[in-house]
């Protein structure tokens, strides 16, 4: 199994989720994060104090799927999350040794 970790633009989340559901993905976990990268944040000024925020709000998706599906998940993610402009984000793929569904105790791909 693979853990697919994608960092995307927040407003793309709905689109991405729909695209992945289309692939048959039944679950994923989403976290609000702050990204530091090439994309620069807005400058904020409060009564003359200027703060150039280099952190941009992003959304992180964590999704475990079986090895076979992984390439298509990555591809779908890349297509649905992309806007073509800087800061679109990254996808990372890691190996997962084991998966368990807490409710039933099922393990492996059955747990997904």
């Amino acid at each position: 199994m693979k853990l697919i970790l994608a960092i995307i633009k927040p407003f793309k989340l709905d689109e991405v989720r729909e695209a992945l559901t289309g692939l048959g993905i039944a679950g994923m976990t989403v976290t609000e994060v702050k990204g530091f990268g090439r994309q620069k944040g807005q400058t904020e000024i409060y009564r003359g104090a200027e703060y150039a925020t280099n952190m941009v709000p992003k959304v992180k998706i964590e999704l475990v799927c079986d090895d076979a599906l992984a390439p298509r998940v990555v591809e779908t993610l890349q297509q649905s999350a992309g806007t073509g402009s800087i800061g679109d984000g990254k996808i990372f793929v890691l190996d997962v040794g084991q998966a368990v569904r807490i409710r039933t105790g099922e393990t492996g791909e059955a747990a997904l």
């Binding site: 407003f11 709905d14 807005q42 400058t43 904020e44 000024i45 409060y46």
Partner: protein, 441 residues
Amino acid sequence: MKGDNMTFANKLAASAGAAGLALFAALPAWAQEAAETPTIDTGDTAWMLTSTVLVLAMILPGLALFYGGLLRTKNMLSMLTHVLAVTCVAMLVWVSWGYSIAFTEAGPFFGDLSNLFLKNVTADSISGTIPEYVFISFQMTFAAITCALVVGSLAERVKFAGLMVFAVIWLTIVYFPLAHMVWSAGGFFFEKGALDFAGGTVVHINAGVSGLVGCLILGKRIGYLKEVLAPHSLTMTFIGTGLLWVGWFGFNAGSALGAGSGAGLAMINTLTATAAAAVAWMVAEKVAGHKPSLLGGCSGVIAGLVAITPAAGFAGPFGAIVLGAVASVIAYLFVTVAKPKLGFDDTADVFGIHGVAGIVGSIGVAFTNAPGFGGPGAADYAIGAQLGTQLFATGVAVLWAAVGSGIAFTVAKLVTGLRVSEEVEREGLDLGEHGERAYNY
């Protein structure tokens, strides 16, 4: 100049006598006295100072929070900024030329510029039984809140600069004339005998219709009816609701222009109509198969307040209850059933609540004023005739607001573009237009 307002007070009393309205009949001593030797009544003045403060509290922080809470986090701060800026601009315009246009006696639709920059007023000027500066201040807050009400329709996409241009034009060609028609001696509605105790036409119908025109001209928000646009803080909306209700006593009971029985009547009606409207909205939700909600209760509060505004001194407490409940249910149906079908994007439902409940109130007052319905109207009060007058006045107000605001928004659009770029809209107006965030937790 003092004469103007004396006349204003007299006319009020006179027309009240003519139309057989109990309200002013209840204050004959006051009216007479005022006409003879204009002196300040400290009790009336105390109440009008308080009322002015209360109306300001309705705007800042009241209305700004009510609207702001309904928006997404990223646009909260822009709403607060819009309300603040519009309020301040309206105040400056009011003392510069607004008061002159609204409260000099020149024609049925407009005053003239003879009192530009308040040039005929001094600290000693008296209006009725209160210092004229207090009257001007009180009315100033009305101009400000009406303009600020419109902002709710435009939220999450209107450009700050465009809003400022709109405000100045709209106040001048829409609000001041309508205020003149309703409240000035010689005003069009005033002379027709239309009932409007505290500004149902000038304030609520006007703001509602102007907001509708504005959101149609602006177009829908990105994601409207597609993405989740849930309110970022109903807590803030609730605080706003509370402050609006609290402040509305300045608005309604303050419109009696003194601390007498008229104010007392307006107060109790502003309590009962509102309570009934809040309950009615939540019951309507339940009947429609949903859960009774906080935003429903708050919307009901506003609908009730709006509906009772024209009728605050022209109803009994139980007439007010019926009026509030009816207006609330109609506004509920409009907002939840009609609006999604019509498909326009009135962000904070300014038309759906202020416009709709305002119209219900403006028409309903013809009934609530009748003694048969517990109203203070005279024994020979004729519902039918009054209803005609009310329909006519309501229609004129709707039309005037629609045309005038159309012009104002169009000019603002030509000058500034009126709407922010897609990028700013997506990122939020807070950062895009003001370079600040509402929250940095």
